[in-house]
Amino acid sequence: MLDTNAFDLRKYLQGNGQSVGVWIALVAMILFGALRYDNFTGAYNISSFLNYNSMFIAISLGMCFVIMTGGIDLSVGSVVAFTSVCVAYLSPYGIQVALPGGILAGMAIGALNAFFVIKMRIPPFIATLATMLGAKGGALVISGRQTISVDWGSNFTKFGMGNVGGLLPWSIIVVMVLAVGLWVVLEKTSIGRTVEAIGGGEDATRMMGLPVDRAKAFVYILSGGCAGLAGVILASGFGAGQPLEGVGWELSAIASVVVGGTLLTGGLGSVPATVAGALLLGLVFNILNFENGRGVISFSAYWQMVVRGMFLFVVILLQSRFSRAAAKQGA
């Protein structure tokens, strides 16, 4: 879906059997929505959908890299909240200050994760669980337990609320540029290769003389930075620094990454499929809302949870079928 002229679909499918499922499901869901509901493919729905989900794509991208090294980052949700508060304070200086400021704040927490994981050798699950608690506490401390207003006078909110041609929000454009950049990093640079190698065997990678620690630091800081970007989008698109936001977002991100076919044990991952995974999970909410509007069945909140779980179940079943088929074909 990116860089189309250089993209050979058949070859991609061969190499990425495990992510075929997500593309099929994505197309099927979009078709389903477009055929069943009025205005589903209208500009308004598309642009607001993309704007909201750009945050999830951003954190999923960072998560994808972390997971490829065999790690995990549970702190992203809290980091989004934390940076949204930081950025709200920066908003009077405009987006040109707030955007880099928010990303840096996120990277700083990412660096803390990296320190715990690399220097203190704390398992990523625990290290980032701790930062998840800490960042949430930090967000509440610096915000004084309040949501923090952004400056509506500066150009800050234009970023999160503006769009191009009524269809493409600025946020999604920035996130897509990030995605393409990360795709290039993963496929074409040595740090990207090292990231994937680590997931395939950390000791072996180290003994091959690859800069394991540097690559791990890179992924955690990257993930923090992606969460920081999501924090900027949150503050500027939703008008406030929100210390309580982001609860459970890490699980959405993990689900997107896995639905996109990345192995949780590390070593194999795909940037485009991760984007597709995030869009797919976002679509479930969107479609549920439209379905409620049809008035045939109204999904109460708890039925929505059940439906989402079942949906995840189906996608994973699909995915395991395809990855098996691909394994057979490859053998």
Partner: protein, 300 residues
Amino acid sequence: EPPPLAQKDRYKVGFSQMESNNPWRIAETKSFHDTAEACNWDLIATDAAGSAAKQVADVDSMIAQGIDVLFLPPREEKPLIPAVMKAKAAGIPTFLVDRSVDPNVAKAGEDYVAFLGSDFIDQGRRVAEWTIENFKGDKGIIVELEGTTGSSPANDRKKGFDDRILQDDRFEIVASQTGDFARDLGRQVMETLLQAHPDVNIVYAHNDEMAIGAIQALELAGRKPGEDVLVVSIDGTRDALQAIIDGKMGVTVESSPFFGPLACEVMKRYAAGETIEPWVQVKDRIFTQENAADHIDEAY
């Protein structure tokens, strides 16, 4: 000027609930569903699962579906302002329900039609006033069980109560910790605080669920809620009224979730061209030993 509302037989009505993790919210959603039939609504109800950002996205998807009118209990004061603005831009009149948005940015009568609800600060203040009047001892040692840290009802109910009660020298708040609006946590926090502050004789909980949890903690520790410890709170749930009748609890200030009928009435007035007052005040009753038994059947 908020967008006008045409007179129609049936309206496509959006109700964007913020979360459904407590009985109060569930009762509120139910009230809207129950009203839909009587009021000729095609109701679209969404649930944001506690996320302000998702609530904005939910409102967006309802705007995309072309609703006529929006009822919105905003999860947070500031983050929901974009939702209000977008609805306005799409020509959809919005009524805020039970919580409001930041009045410095979005104003009733301009950006949205009106706010229907009560005042959390006032609820806290009324609990404090009742306590000042009815506390018999010389020295009131208070433990406060807060709602979800950082949420606006928790912040406001704390402010309203604290400001008022501390004007009276008899009272002192020795501990104030979050019980996350939940019964189980309210109990656990109370158990712990009771150990650290055995001389406590007043418990103020930000909602009834935590108050019930606190009563359980007191009983497990061999205390007598209602006799040696006065429990006061907000909401007016059935369990709380029962506790008042049983003499275990002093007071609960009502915070009714049944907004459906009010919403219907206000919307009809607006469609008829009436100017709606910016704040449609809900008259929160106060339940004590005197009237609890009369109202327990209407409680949820």
